[in-house]
Symmetry: C2
């Protein structure tokens, strides 16, 4: 398998396949055709075949895909078996929601630490972890070597904390601060702007109204 | 301007342009070239020119784009001037984070109601709105006619509440329940799976490690 053939556009679609296949496994489905996947996912069957062909043709004509091998293969490509260590910086509502609702284990990660600056939040428990003070950030990173920092802190604090975390040797950032962070060489940043998809929805409403 | 020429892929990129141009306006920047936008946004200048050409060429050779008109034009296309009325169903941590952190007004929407089933949450105040009981959902919808429902409720409750809201005449859904909802004819659904971008990040880490 030549990994270089997997474009970032395909990679961005893979988590969705991964979720669907996970649901099929839960329902004891062993095989699935691109047509069945197409109906469920509202993507054309030819798009599905094209995407999955990118990393080797696992489908058999007239038989379909083996759900479990496809699930594992996509998981391997995405690194879902790597158990990357995650810390969350900022345990307000959004940090709390992410700590409690994101299934880290299933997605190749493990939540190991929570940090905040507010005395009213430090020491509280969230998803079985005690919220740590930001004062202990460097010693924690030194000891546990987290791979990923989730930034759920106010926009204006993001750039400084970003630099501090890079100094503490963290190489990957899942950034919800609404401050677009530009990744220096060797650093990965996934900037998430939740509100962007509200605008896509508004466009859809507007277009429907015009019909 | 022929709106049919704007593909959904371009539409999904427009909110990001909209945010950047909004920042430029805040900083009193009047003109911007595709090269400058390209550096800031880490997208090729040719991609930017192509995207913006989709809805009429606002740029002038050797002059660049007029920031304010481009901002307004993209806002118009996305429906950011429509003031769609929004309610949120489920005021746990995620509902709270969305109520407080998403700048609805800037994105063509207005938050008008919050709903929950838990007695401990009903009656509390969040972003200047009192959380309403789900028992009052239908009468509220009848009176205020919201356009969009944000679903920040548990996965297993999503399908039933989705049907109930459609009956109450809501036509658009911003869905964070992790239950992929399929839109019937005439209904818009934007399914958001926050965890998907964590997998894209894990892929990036894995790829960087392989270098």
């Amino acid at each position: 398998m030549d990994k270089k053939n997997v474009s970032i556009a395909v990679v961005k679609r893979l988590p969705r396949y991964f979720r669907y296949l996970g649901d099929l496994i839960k329902n004891d489905v062993l095989k699935v055709s691109s047509n069945e996947l197409s109906k469920k996912m509202q993507v054309t069957a030819s798009q599905i075949r094209q995407d999955l062909n990118c990393f080797g043709g696992f489908g058999q004509q007239g038989y379909g895909y083996n759900v479990l091998s496809l699930y594992n293969e996509i998981g391997n490509i995405l690194g879902a078996n790597r158990n990357y260590k995650v810390i969350i910086i900022g345990i307000g509502n959004l940090g709390n929601a992410i700590a409690n609702n994101v299934n880290f284990e299933k997605r190749g990660a493990k939540l190991i630490g929570l940090f905040d600056v507010l005395p009213s939040i430090i020491g509280t428990v969230c998803n079985n972890l005690i919220v740590n003070s930001m004062e202990n950030l460097e010693s924690f990173c030194n000891e546990y070597k987290p791979d990923i920092a989730v930034l759920t802190l106010p926009k204006k604090e993001a750039p400084e904390i970003f630099k501090r975390l890079i100094k503490a040797n963290i190489k990957s950032f899942w950034n919800f601060s609404n401050m677009e962070l530009i990744a220096p060489e060797g650093i990965c940043v996934e900037n998430v702007h939740i509100g962007d998809s509200l605008m896509t929805l508004c466009y859809c409403i507007k277009t429907n109204e015009g019909k």
